[in-house]
Structure formats: structure tokens, C-alpha cells
């Protein structure tokens, strides 16, 4: 076997090791010793250094409850319940819920379309995450209270999929305003609230006459905030 092919096969076996028992081909004794003078067949030279690291199967890195990735701000726990209108708004279990929002300064984690723009791998997806609803139709995220940017009220983006991955709804969560509200307690972080767009003037939320997009937010800047909302899908 070609050295390259052998390496590839070994890597494949190592990679699958976490989801399937190691195959006999991956036993340590199968690694041929060096100095065999270039023999044929499976008699190949072992690598001179540990080849790797070779990542193992990790489909769930984006599935996480703590989405902060080091971003600082007032702690906030967001509990989102997904209900199904066709089932009298009963909780929908097994739904995939993605959320994302901006940091205290009003910036999102994302890079644009500039071809060679890069990002640091440790925090490139800050304040973004995915959870799957439990039997109560609930997901919980640990995050920070979002900042704001020009033209928009404070908000959290949500994309809801069914268990099969079909998109059910793309929506946004709004925050209560006024005296005693979390928006006023946080005060827009370092930016203040000068020039802030309130829900009534927000392009997305201004048509929400019944407030179905407005979450219940309790807590304070010392202990953190609790956000709760039910979002119904058809």
C-alpha cells in the first residue's frame, strides 16, 4: 500500500474511533517499524512524528447553552418555549432553535463577503448557538444582555427548525421598555441610550400591536437578567 493511502486509512480509522469501536487495522502492533529498507505491500515506514492532531467527530460544537465566548456584559439567561399552533400551542419537543444577537457594543460575530477576510477560531461565533427543545418545548441559553446599534431596538434573532431540519420560522425577540425595564437598567452599556430606536419606531417590531414578540425580562444588573418568551410556529 502506498504510504499516503495507509496514512489516509489510518486517519479514517482514528477519526471514526469515537463513534465505533476501533477496527483491528488500527492496533498499535500494526504500525510497521522503521528501517525495513523500503519493502513492498503493507510494509511501510512509520511516520517520524505523531501525525495530527486529527479531530474526532464533533457535529455538536454549535449546540451549546453558553454562547458568550468571552464576550462581557450583564449575564442573561434566555428561556424560549416553542409552541405549535396546530396543536393548541402545546410545547413542540425536538425543534432546533438557533439564536444570535449583538454584543454590548452592538457588533455581531460574522465576516462579510470579502474573500480573504479571516477570523480567530476561538471566538468567531460569539453570541450564537443552537439548542434542541426538550419535552417542555424549551431551550435555555446563557448569554449577555444584548447591546444596540443605530436603527434597531434591542433584539435577539431566532431561527426555528423542526427535527427534520425544515425551517419553521425566522423571527426576532423584542424587549420591554420604560421605567424599571431591563433596557433602561442596562442603559445601552457604554453607548448610553442617546439615539436609541424604541420598539414603536423599529421597522421589525412596530407592527407587533399585541406584543407577541416582546419577552418577559426580570432581574437586575447585579444578579443578571432572565428572559422568557413563548414563540409559536404553525
Amino acid at each position: 500500500m502506498e504510504r499516503k493511502a495507509f496514512l489516509k486509512n489510518s486517519i479514517a480509522a482514528l477519526g471514526m474511533g469515537f463513534i465505533a469501536p476501533l477496527t483491528p487495522a488500527c492496533k498499535k502492533s500494526d504500525i510497521t517499524d522503521d528501517n525495513t529498507g523500503g519493502g513492498s505491500g503493507d510494509c511501510i515506514v512509520a511516520p517520524t512524528e505523531t501525525a495530527g492532531p486529527f479531530p474526532t467527530k464533533n457535529p455538536s460544537a454549535f449546540v451549546r447553552s453558553d454562547i458568550r465566548d468571552g464576550r462581557t456584559g450583564y449575564l442573561m439567561t434566555a428561556t424560549i418555549t416553542i409552541g405549535q399552533v396546530s396543536n393548541s400551542c402545546a410545547p413542540l419537543a425536538g425543534a432546533i432553535v438557533d439564536i444570535w444577537h449583538c454584543d454590548a457594543e452592538g457588533n455581531y460575530s460574522e465576516y462579510g463577503s470579502t474573500q480573504m477576510q479571516s477570523a480567530n477560531y476561538t471566538d468567531v461565533h460569539f453570541l450564537r448557538g443552537r439548542q434542541v427543545t426538550d419535552a417542555n418545548g424549551q431551550v435555555k441559553f446563557t448569554t449577555i444582555f444584548p447591546g444596540w446599534y443605530s436603527g434597531r431596538a434591542t433584539h435577539i434573532h431566532v431561527h426555528i427548525f423542526n427535527a427534520a431540519g425544515n425551517s419553521l420560522k425566522i423571527t426576532q425577540i423584542a424587549f420591554p421598555e420604560g421605567s424599571g425595564s431591563a433596557v433602561s437598567a442596562v442603559g445601552g452599556y457604554n453607548k448610553g441610550l442617546n439615539g436609541y430606536t424604541y420598539n414603536a419606531n423599529d421597522n421589525i417590531f412596530s407592527d407587533d400591536r399585541n406584543g407577541v414578540q416582546i419577552a418577559t425580562v426580570t432581574g437586575n444588573t447585579t444578579d443578571g437578567f432572565d428572559l422568557k418568551i413563548q414563540l409559536n410556529v404553525s
Partner: protein, 165 residues
């Protein structure tokens, strides 16, 4: 001799012929593409990434959105840039920055999913070029004797940026 600080870019292409962890990343990012594609197109209007971007330029965001599925794999590399070795056959490049890229994809067919990970090396000092080899060193404190790596210029590896030292 004038030395320059350089950042190298290695564009690692991953397609349906890839094995090992690349195969896992290939299938996971295709699953993610199917989810995120619906952010820009639902129903059966579009299936190809290139078609969707042509119809709606905002779909360029998919490079970033789909990269969420690559996140765990990239993190497991622990900052060691894969595949590229010096002339002694040893890995020596490290990275902190990367960019995930969808070259082409089809929501109906994982075999048409082609992606690339652009790894941007941490800065190195480029002292000279000997034949096809770059003479590089990690940033070292001792300026009297510099330990060198010889790196062959090869396809999918390029000098991304340079700064005079």
C-alpha cells in the same frame, strides 16, 4: 539581509473524495448548509449554492453561517496548521485565524459539496529563498543564530501578507 514578517495562507480543499476527519467535516457542513440555505431560500427554487448567491448576494453570508459546523473541528486542531510540513517532514506552522469557504454545494447531493478552509499562519520571519524553498523562522529572541525551517512553495500555499522588519 532584509527580513520580512510573512503570514502564509493554506487553502485546504475538502470534497467527497476526502477521508478522515475531513470527511466528517464534509458531511457535517453539508447538513448545516441544508439548514442555513433556508434562511435565504425555502421550497424548491434553488439547490445550488452558486445559483442562490447569483439570485441573492446576501447568501454570501452562508460561508460564515455554515462554518458553525466546522467550529468544533477547527478548535480540535489546537492552533496547529495541518498538512503543511517543512523539508524535514515536520509540521511547524501555527494558526489562530481561518476562513471557511463554500466553493460549491447542492442541497440535494452531498457529493457535490466542495468546501475549503483557509488557514492563516501566525507570523513568521522570511529570511531568504533557496531554490523553491522559503527560509523561515519563528520569531526568536536570539538574533545571533536563527533556527530555520525550509518550506517548499506548493499549490494551495501562498504568502498572504508581508511586513518589513
Amino acid at each position: 539581509m532584509v527580513s520580512n514578517s510573512v503570514i502564509l495562507c493554506y487553502r485546504k480543499i475538502i470534497d467527497d473524495r476526502s477521508g478522515g476527519w475531513e470527511k466528517l467535516l464534509h458531511s457535517d457542513t453539508h447538513e448545516e448548509l441544508k439548514l442555513q440555505f433556508q434562511f435565504f431560500s425555502t421550497g424548491n427554487t434553488y439547490h445550488l449554492f452558486s445559483e442562490l448567491v447569483h439570485a441573492d448576494n446576501r447568501a454570501e453570508k452562508l460561508h460564515f453561517l455554515v462554518s458553525a459546523a466546522a467550529k468544533g473541528y477547527i478548535a480540535q486542531l489546537n492552533g496547529k496548521l495541518p498538512d503543511i510540513k517543512n523539508n524535514l517532514g515536520k509540521s511547524f506552522l501555527t494558526f489562530s485565524n481561518y476562513r471557511f469557504e463554500i466553493i460549491e454545494s447542492d442541497t440535494r447531493n452531498v457529493n457535490r459539496h466542495i468546501i475549503a478552509i483557509n488557514f492563516f499562519s501566525n507570523p513568521l520571519t522570511w529570511h531568504a529563498t533557496v531554490g523553491d524553498y522559503l527560509l523561515l523562522s519563528d520569531n526568536q529572541a536570539d538574533e545571533n543564530r536563527v533556527l530555520l525551517h525550509q518550506l517548499l512553495l506548493q499549490p494551495f500555499l501562498s504568502i498572504y501578507s508581508m511586513q518589513k522588519l
